[in-house]
Amino acid sequence: MKKRSLIQKSIYAVITIFAVLVFNYLLFRVLPGDPLSMMMRNPKATPEMIEGMRQLFGLDQPWYVQLYLYFKNLLAGDLGMSFYFKQPVSSVIGARIMPTIIMVGLAEVVAIFAGIIIGLIAAWKRGTRIDVATLGFSLVTYSMPTFWLGMVIVVVFSVNLHLFPTSGILTPGMTYQTTGAMVADYIRHLILPTLTMSIVLIGEYALTMRNTLTDVLSEDYITTAKAKGFDNKYILRKHALPNAMLPMVTLIAINLGLVVGGTVQVETVFSWPGLGSLMYEALRARDYPLLQGVFLLVTVSVVVANFIADITYSYIDPRVKE
């Protein structure tokens, strides 16, 4: 990639993050009611906490001082106190990051593998029933609210079939003899949320795989390979697949927005103690500092991930023109 476009992209990413920060600042200050009165609506907010907020964010000072303090606190990692958990927002968030990464990471891996295989079969058997079924599956999962899919899965697999626990991360009150037993319990809890999240993603990945593979298969170099007498499987594996995989990189980045939205819903349905359910809890408790903190973290992560994907893509695919 040209150095100039790299610099330009970096500047754009920084501007976007800055805009997110300012948006976050304005959201709770410009809209009707000042942040303090909004926080006072929360019965859990004690007078000391509100006084603490006033001090921390300089809420009795002019706006430019407030903006300065906001950025200063942000750089120091100080996001204020959570009313609900009565702890600093940053430590509440910190405790919730790992479960989300494990669940979402696993779901992504499952979805990518399944998506590639399904897309491959659909592209290979173009126009057959399998192909149409892939389209149907994609359409239906596209139209389905994620939380509802989760509800259906809970009822079928936990309530009716008693195969997996309905919610949580570990069985409450359970004492484990070995670490292995604990890990096994953790995995039992992990399966259903991961399954739900994967189903949401598979349709998308399968579609992309199928379409790009169809395009790639009509390229001249595939015809050349066929003319050379390679067998179909070899061509598919060595010539078509590597090229068809490229758009997946962009797709995973573009999908992050969907994944974040899906995480909130899936974690809420399964009470999986990650960032998504934390956002829901903050919302229920009208815990504004916490809500703001999670929103900020999630949004900045998505912007950064998109930026990284953008750059990676132009490195691995030299055909990308600026």
């Binding site: 609210p145 809970v154 009716n160 819903q265």
Partner: protein
């Protein structure tokens, strides 16, 4: 690009390959059905939905009296579904309207004036494209408060960015055409050109996009309501699912409670998607023959 639209594009490619007009037909018939139910709902409704039932009416499975059973308040589910269709469709359509207006104004202004204005507006658009939609809507709805108009506003204000991009691209090509040049030489002002010459030419594309945005809006409403951000006084499908989950009725196995609203959402969203495809093919001649 909004990831939903990204996926939609790929769905379209797929459609083109499958070439199944039955799908488009299915979409329009289903959508018509739901629209008719929504409009004539009060005539069809066998029960007054807001009437709470007696204790013995709570969570009854489907029967002759209650075709789809009752909810945790003893209300008839079918009646709730019918009245919910009005609210869900109303929110979806109104939010789409807001989104379309914002998208068209920003897209046309950006494409027509170009240069600095274009750069500024497109940065602004990118900002809305990159921010994950659900957290953004959650935060906005939480701050604004939960009533039906705020929900419509929140969905509308967060879903216009894809439209603005499409409209801008189309405006760029339309403004280079000769008739625009002629109109300028006849002394027409920018406002006149944008409103009378560019908008009508951009419209076919916008129309197909509208249908797609409507499907996103309906899923958004359902999700926001489920998360407790819906209007408690307006029992949309999303609110029904919210109560089914919160009351524990869903995990207690009351399938008649949580399945029907979900099926309705899927059917409507699916129909919108299928219709969007059909519109695209009819109104956007570029796609023909591909």
């Amino acid at each position: 690009m909004h990831y939903k639209e990204f996926r939609y594009r790929k769905l379209k490619e797929f459609f083109r390959a499958v070439k199944n007009n039955k799908m488009a037909l299915f979409g329009s018939v289903t959508l018509m059905f739901f629209l008719l139910v929504a409009v004539f709902g009060p005539i069809l409704m066998p029960f007054s939905t807001l009437d709470f039932g007696n204790v013995e009416d709570i969570l009854l499975p489907p029967s002759g009296d209650h075709l789809l059973g009752t909810d945790d308040m003893g209300r008839d589910i079918l009646a709730n579904l019918i009245s919910g269709s009005r609210i869900s469709l109303l929110i979806g359509i109104m939010a789409t309207l807001i989104s379309m207006i914002i998208g068209c104004v920003i897209g046309i202004v950006s494409g027509y004036f170009g240069k600095r204005i274009d750069q500024l507006l497109m940065r602004f658009t990118d900002f809305f494209l990159v921010i994950p939609w659900l957290p953004l809507m959650m935060v906005l709805a939480a701050v604004l408060g939960t009533n039906i108009w705020n929900i419509i506003f929140v969905i509308g204000i967060t879903s216009w960015a894809g439209t603005a991009r499409i409209v801008r691209a189309q405006t760029l090509s339309v403004k280079e055409r000769q008739f625009v040049e002629r109109t300028i030489s006849l002394g027409a002002g920018s406002k006149h050109i944008m409103l009378h010459h560019i908008l009508p030419n951009v419209f076919p594309l916008v129309f197909a996009n509208t249908v797609l945005v409507a499907s996103i809006a309906i899923v958004s409403e359902t999700t926001l309501s489920f998360l407790g951000l819906g209007d408690p006084s307006q029992a949309s499908w999303g609110m029904m699912l919210h109560y089914a989950f919160e009351s524990g009725a869903a995990s207690a196995g009351a399938y008649w409670y949580y399945l029907p609203p979900g099926f309705c959402v899927v059917a409507v969203v699916l129909s919108f998607t299928l219709m969007g495809y059909a519109f695209d093919e009819i109104l956007n001649p570029k796609l023909k023959g591909r």
